[in-house]
């Protein structure tokens, strides 16, 4: 049965449709793989009974000729998505034992289309982190290790559990969310494909909020095609989220394999960082060469405010987080720690319920929004955000269709290696991805090579608003040239 877990989502879908495979078998194979891979800590909750029941219902629909686009496909769900009747914690102690009475729009659309839920995946607490080390449930181990080494590595974050589950072939795809790079950075670290769609493409309803003007849901998958198939089901209008756009959802899979001839690809000069490893520069050049030989035209572009995106993000995101996380007060749900009066109850609950990184960000957010500091910090950061977006708009106005950049400034690193003394060291992981959230654009990370120690490295493609199709077409070119990167099981 193990070979069933090596199928791509598209291959499994096609075999299910031909009825030479049942969802029950496919789901059982993945549940068995999850059980064997518990050392990775990729799942914070396994839902085998629900999975088996959903698989059985899928098989019945397939038999009736009533199959949806994702019928019978076993998926993993980041623990940030509310799932009705299934514990959802955002991997925070403050949401211990929270059982939603409703389903997030994105996951409800996956179930509508026939997908099967395997369980909830680990993530950084409230999606705040770049290594999955801030989770209340402990870190996730990457399925990848350096050649000849047993050092446990991070899968990236915040969607570290989803990335590890896909890379270790424990599921055929996973949901994830991206506020500053939380889909694309873990995808790059684990040799998987992850796309953050344009802001407003997927509904945020029922997803635990971090920074509402930046948060977007997206898929993590084994291949570009699989990500395209998943996004079609995840995206779409939703009356419950006023920032979710009323645009029809294209058939993204149809864009996979589409010619990229004549597309103008911008190479932003500002992404060439001082001290960047030579291997990163090398795969970037390699990516340029692949796109060029596929008929795309490369043009040098400038995004002059790039270096200010990360500092502006560390004002805007904590400010929004401090507001969003005000709801965790020990009254309506989650943890309550008794206090001598109501204020003390709030303060004790939040002190015990929030981990160190969340506390830091809530406090920074509170500070930059406080009287006397709002203009100097928050208002200035929002103006800088306008300039960051304008940089991209000017390039697109000059006929650039998409941009190619590295996805991360390094390969994966060891658990406990970064950010211990200075939180900013960890923040720098998102230097290439955060600009895309600040400008609301779509970005995809595609595996493109490996470093000298055999760890995967990824490239990022940034697109025009709502032009995810071009990203899938270009991503496919890179995937075809680079091949797939599959972790060898040690667990």
């Amino acid at each position: 049965m193990t070979e069933l877990t090596t199928l791509t989502l598209a291959e499994a879908r096609d075999r299910l449709r031909k009825k030479d495979l049942s969802s029950a078998e496919l789901t059982a194979a993945h549940l068995a793989a999850m059980e064997k891979a518990r050392a990775l800590n990729a799942f914070v909750l396994e839902t085998p009974e629900q999975a088996a029941a959903m698989a059985k219902a899928s098989d019945a629909r397939i038999a009736r000729g009533d199959a949806g686009p994702l019928e019978g496909i076993p998926l993993a769900i980041k623990d940030l998505f509310c799932t009705k009747g299934v514990r959802t914690t955002a991997c925070s102690h403050i949401l211990d034992n929270f059982v939603p009475t409703y389903e997030s729009t994105v996951t409800s659309q996956l179930w509508r289309d026939g997908a099967v839920m395997l369980g909830k995946t680990n993530n950084d607490e409230f999606a705040m982190g770049s290594s999955n080390e801030t989770s209340y449930f402990g870190p996730v181990q990457s399925p990848w290790r350096r050649e000849g080494s047993n050092t446990p590595l991070v899968p990236g974050g915040s969607s570290g559990g989803s990335a590890a589950a896909v890379a270790a072939q424990l599921c055929l795809g996973a949901t994830a969310t991206d506020t500053g790079g939380s889909i694309r950075q873990p995808a790059a670290f684990t040799g998987t494909v992850g796309i953050k769609p344009t802001y407003g493409r997927c509904s945020r309803w029922g997803i635990v909020a971090f920074a509402s003007s930046l948060d977007q849901a997206g898929p993590m998958a084994k291949t570009v095609r699989d990500a395209a198939i998943m996004l079609r089901s995840m995206a779409g209008p939703d009356a419950k989220d006023t920032t979710c756009v009323d645009l029809p959802v294209p058939d993204y899979e149809a864009a996979v394999g589409r010619s990229v001839k004549g597309l103008r690809i911008g190479i932003p000069n500002e992404y060439r960082l001082e001290g960047m490893p030579a291997e990163i520069e090398k795969i970037w050049q390699q990516g340029c060469a692949w796109l060029k030989s596929a008929g795309a035209e490369l043009v040098d572009v400038s995004l002059p405010h790039t270096k200010y995106a990360l500092p502006a993000y560390y004002i805007v995101a904590p400010a929004e987080a401090s507001s969003n996380l005000a709801r965790y007060d020990g009254v309506r749900y989650g943890l309550r720690v008794p206090g001598k009066d109501i204020t003390d109850m709030y303060e004790q609950t939040r002190a015990e319920g929030f981990g160190g990184e969340v506390r830091r960000r809530v406090m920074i957010g509170t500070y930059v929004l406080s009287a006397g500091y709002y203009d100097a910090y928050y208002l200035r950061a929002q103006k800088v955000r306008t300039l960051i977006k304008r940089d991209f708009e000017q390039c697109f106005a000059q006929g650039v269709h998409a941009m190619l950049t590295p996805a991360t400034p390094s390969a994966s690193f060891g658990i406990g290696e970064k950010g211990g003394a200075d939180p900013v060291e960890m923040y720098l992981n998102d230097v290439f991805t955060v600009t895309v959230n600040m400008a609301g654009l779509p970005g995809i990370a595609v595996p493109a090579g490996a470093d000298a120690q055999g760890l995967p490295l990824g490239l990022q493609l940034i697109g025009r608003p709502f032009d995810e199709e071009t990203l899938f077409a270009l991503g496919e070119v890179i995937e075809q040239a680079a091949g797939r990167f599959v972790a060898q099981p040690w667990w």
């Binding site: 344009t198 502006a312 004002i315 109501i342 109850m345 709030y346 002190a351 929030f354 500091y373 955000r385």
Partner: protein
């Protein structure tokens, strides 16, 4: 700009997070590291630039002002740490 110990305590109070005396110094260091990092935004000329309010240009959607949900106090209270007779319970607020 950097924060002193008194400011750290004031922020913690505003954020409703209890901070122990022996945590203040460490927190002060962490917050100042972040503030030092964001300081570079001061270099940017933002003269005449509008602050971003919506990343995607869109008109705010409106819907009919009608009840679409509700009448389910049990579901609403199902995750409450303490509740009674259809109400959330909190420590005494008014003497």
């Amino acid at each position: 700009m950097s924060v002193d110990a008194a400011t750290v305590r004031r922020i913690a109070r505003l954020a409703r997070i209890a901070v122990k005396d022996d945590e203040v110094e460490h927190l002060q260091g962490e917050l100042n590291a972040i503030l030092a990092f964001v300081e570079q935004l001061g270099e940017v000329n933002v003269e005449g630039v509008e602050p971003m309010t919506s990343v995607t240009p869109m008109a705010m959607k409106s819907r009919t002002d009608a009840v679409t949900d509700g009448n389910d106090p049990d579901a609403v209270l199902s995750n409450a740490p303490q509740s009674e007779d259809g109400f959330y319970l909190v420590p005494k607020v008014i003497e």
